[in-house]
Amino acid sequence: MLAVVGTVPDDDFPIVDGIVSVNKDSLLIGNHEIDINRGTAALLASAFMACRFFGKPGPTAFLVGDTGRGFGSRKLYEYLVETLPERHYISLAFHYIQPDVDWHNKVLFAIDEMEARPLLIADAGFMYAAKMSGQANAYDVFTPDIGELAFLADESAPHPFYTRGFILHENQQAGQLIERAYAHHNAARYLLVKGEKDIVANKSGILDTITGPVIPAMEAIGGTGDIITGLLAGIISAGYNIQPACSMASRISRMAGKSADPHPATQVAEIIQKIPDCMELLIKQQPAGCTCDY
């Protein structure tokens, strides 16, 4: 089973811990209804689609309201420290949250207390905290975009906001940035780099590059990266190996993007709705025999 940790942009939203479902453009959890158009809700909706496709229960969500002041995030960190040791998950995905190194480390300690360590996926603010804590290699997958990859590659940057210009420059090749991120121990066991080309890599180098279909408008649409991370989390929790799961998540996301025929003003919910059909199409093309490696 998959669990996802993140925030919603509403300071009045309490800590909620439960299984999610999706109804059209809304994420449903308990008696709450959340717009799936951005952030962790977009990730959860995509993960839900993947879980449902494989006949698995919907993901469990640990959510709290936070509009950037960090109050909700700190409550959620505390809740995770208290709760996680008694829980059982195949994979655990961390997403939008106020980066806080001390609390991040406490959460990692709580995960160590779990009976079986889940596969750990980090994106967004939690990935920033993981890198800054120096414990990136405790994670199984990071899902940065190209700007965030530059941040991972910059050993002195505590946040993408401080990535040094010579590293951030567009002429830097993704392969060099990946190499640099691993050289300084600032990458997870696998990287799924989201961009014009999606790249799957580990410390040995680039394992797969997904180049098509090319949908340039996707770069501008808020939440398209969240779709990939959500799909990845859902596919991994269904038992796929990390590397093929990364490639599949990328391809399904691109196919869904193409199917939605987006322009830069398209909202991400339109793409999420296309996921089930695209999964059907892609999975039928997969060779049999994908098994777990964890």
């Binding site: 925030t7 919603v8 942009p9 951005r38 952030g39 962790t40 936070d66 509009t67 950037g68 002041r69 960090g70 909700g72 995030s73 939008y96 949250i97 106020q98 980066p99 806080d100 190194v101 001390d102 991040h104 994106d123 967004a124 603010g125 939690f126 990935m127 920033y128 905290a129 800054m132 975009d145 700007g147 965030e148 941040f151 002195s156 940057a157 505590p158 946040h159 993408p160 906001f161 401080y162 990535t163 040094r164 210009g165 951030l168 420059h169 567009e170 340039p216 408008a217 770069e219 501008a220 649409i221 808020g222 939440g223 398209t224 990266g225 322009h263 830069p264 003003a265 398209t266 909202q267």
Partner: protein, 183 residues
């Protein structure tokens, strides 16, 4: 103009980075840094927001670099504005500089600007903000909700309603796209 005024004006225009007597003001959170920066710049102080030195980093941090010799004047001004720093400490080593590179992508009818990890996209004809993407701090979805669908220049600035480094980066992208489209 009295002697004190002459002294104040001269020091306001002094470049704090040219001096070794630099200090940083540390605040409770990034929102307070942004408020303090607004107060100081509004009053003519040339200060910079920077990354804190490693020993005081907690996660999503900014500090304000000041000339230490002006600490009392600056502190008094901030106290009057209700945004006092937690502490002021001297610095000797280099501080991290915020990103200052922008990438622009022209989609034809739409224009996107990226600063660090944040992207903002507008429709050229209407100047409507159509999408905000990137980032990882929790004010990003909040900022997107408040800004998408609003016209460039009419939307609330991330500086005024954001709270994190991602919000600050989005503000830089927002100012850059305004510069490209409104000037």
């Amino acid at each position: 103009m009295g002697l004190l005024d002459i002294f104040k004006k001269n020091n306001k225009s002094a470049d704090p980075h040219a001096s070794n007597d630099r200090g940083i003001m540390v605040f409770e959170n990034t929102s307070e840094v942004i408020r303090a920066e607004n107060v100081l710049k509004h009053n003519g102080w040339r200060v910079r927001v920077m990354g804190p030195p490693p020993e005081i980093r907690t996660g999503c941090d900014l500090v304000i670099e000041i000339p230490l010799i002006e600490h009392l004047n600056i502190h008094r001004l901030l106290a009057e504005a209700g945004v006092s720093p937690l502490k002021t400490v001297p610095v000797s080593g280099p501080l991290l500089e915020p990103v200052n590179i922008f990438f622009t992508h022209d989609f034809g009818d739409f224009l996107m600007v990226r600063a660090a990890n944040m992207k903002i996209t507008i429709e050229k004809k209407s100047l409507l903000i159509v999408n905000i993407s990137g980032g990882g701090c929790p004010d990003v979805p909040y900022l997107a909700r408040k800004m998408v669908g609003r016209k460039l220049g009419d939307a609330p600035s991330p500086r005024s309603i954001g709270h994190t480094l991602c919000g600050y980066a989005l503000d830089m992208a927002y100012e850059e796209i305004k510069k490209q489209c409104l000037q």
